[in-house]
Amino acid sequence: MSSLRRIWAMVMRYWYLLRRSVPRIIDMVSWPVVDVVMWGFLSQFLAGNSTFIAKAGGVLLAGMFLWDVMSRSQLGVSVGLLEEVWARHLGHIFVSPLRAWEWLAALMAMSIFRTVAGLAPAVLVAMALYHFSLFDLGLPLAGFVACLLMMGWWLGILVVAAILRWGQGAENLAWAAPFVLSPLGAVYYPVSTLPYWLKPVALAMPAAHVFEGMRGVMVDHMFQPGELIDAALLNFAYLAVASLVFLWAFRGARMQGKMLQMGE
């Protein structure tokens, strides 16, 4: 109960910050809407010029939405740390009874909220402008979203660890990480497109399995549970590794006194 109470207190801390900050709300909502408008027009153009897109209408938009789930989830975790760094607040929260894992749990909870709230307007825009509904993916959509949320968490935890280890100089990783990984995520093309030496690297990423599964549903109208299971297993393994890396970085920050020093 004590842990739940502390997690809730930290969720409220981020909620108080978000609810009254117009720039943060605009930032959260605007990028997915811009993305959906751009990818929607591109999809319309390609539908008349590509047999693949014509066969599976919306495959690009679905890829964009699902990759945004991962990106928003990752940002929800890593920006949570940055908010504390910018506020010179780390020193207070970590001398309270809050444990590091409770703080991560609060960041993960907020990342779910940020992802849903950030993508909801874009989903409505896609329905209105392009008659595309993400929910046409059916029940597998829940599995795809869950796997990509989880991938965002472990990636976010690794970014948090990097910032704790190297300081604010590493904060750009929070925005760069999804871009760096997207070519390997097979978001918009099948893994078979990649050169043979890159395929094992792509298949080591949960995202590649999710997007192969997504294309299976949309193009071949067939759900492949194996892809989802592979993605989930990889996620659990990476989450465990990321947690260990975080604990190492957290101890390093305590060795160097960074909790009291980091801030603008």
Binding site: M10, A87, G257
Partner: protein
């Protein structure tokens, strides 16, 4: 025979290095429950580093710290619910109101009836009219009072304060000192206060920490007599300008 007060802080051989720089050099001391102890020293003497180690925020290179019986390197979460801390070097979120900030900490410490506790502290520390204002819009002195309220939100048994009256005008500083003394007397809480303010330290100080070593210890009046000076500020200058020597034996 009166009972001896329990030791609430026990520090043995505490040492901290940052690269080649020795921030804290093999200090040992104890603090008895219910006492108000001052850590006095110039810039870079190791006061903030010592407090960070006592809080478990900084892992020492060597030595042991026990607070309320808990090893602060390995099991700091056993003691943290009963402690709290304020420092001008660590901030509260600027975009949250005063009430929101204090509500978050009431939740983190599991304070019963948080609204009532926040109202009590706001009245005692004179910031009731600021409760709905953003913390970032407060003056430096107002922030100090809110930060102190955060440090008192859980009615701590041990309060660690770094420069507690920094940025306060003399009247406000005096009221805060009186409130802290009343709180300590009323609750039996222990306080460890790092300060440059000689008036503050003269009222409260038992320890002197210099260049990462405890060089002397005693009640302010005793120290003034021992050094043959008129004020504690003169004692401080005597010690601060002397060459480093081997650490003195320090007893309670």
């Amino acid at each position: 025979m009166p009972a001896q007060p329990d030791t609430i802080i026990s520090v043995q051989g505490l040492t901290k290095r940052f690269g080649d720089s020795l921030a804290v050099d093999d200090i040992s001391f104890t603090v008895a429950e219910g006492s108000i102890t001052g850590l006095l020293g110039g810039n870079g003497a190791g006061k903030t580093t010592t407090i960070a180690m006592l809080l478990g925020m900084l892992i020492p290179a060597a030595g042991a710290i026990r607070i309320l019986g808990a090893d602060m390197v390995a099991h700091r979460h056993r003691a943290l619910p009963h402690m709290n801390f304020a420092s001008p070097y660590v901030d509260l979120p600027h975009r949250l109101t005063v009430t929101e900030n204090l509500s978050v900490y009431a939740g983190l410490y599991g304070v019963a009836r948080p609204k009532q506790r926040i109202a009590e502290l706001a009245e005692a520390l004179d910031f009731t009219e600021m409760l709905k204002r953003d913390y970032g819009n407060l003056s430096a002195g107002q922030k100090t009072r809110v930060s102190l309220a955060k440090a008192l939100i859980n009615r701590p048994r041990l309060l660690l304060l770094d420069e507690p009256t920094a940025s306060l005008d003399p009247d406000s500083a005096d009221r805060i000192r009186r409130y802290l003394r009343d709180y300590a007397e009323g609750s039996g809480a222990t306080m460890l206060i790092a300060s440059h303010n000689m008036i503050e330290v003269e009222r409260l100080c038992d320890d002197l920490l210099r260049r990462g070593r405890i060089v002397d210890r005693g009640a302010p009046v005793g120290l003034i007599e021992r050094y043959g000076r008129q004020t504690l500020e003169e004692v401080f200058l005597d010690i601060a300008r002397a060459e480093p020597t081997a650490p003195a034996e320090v007893g309670p």
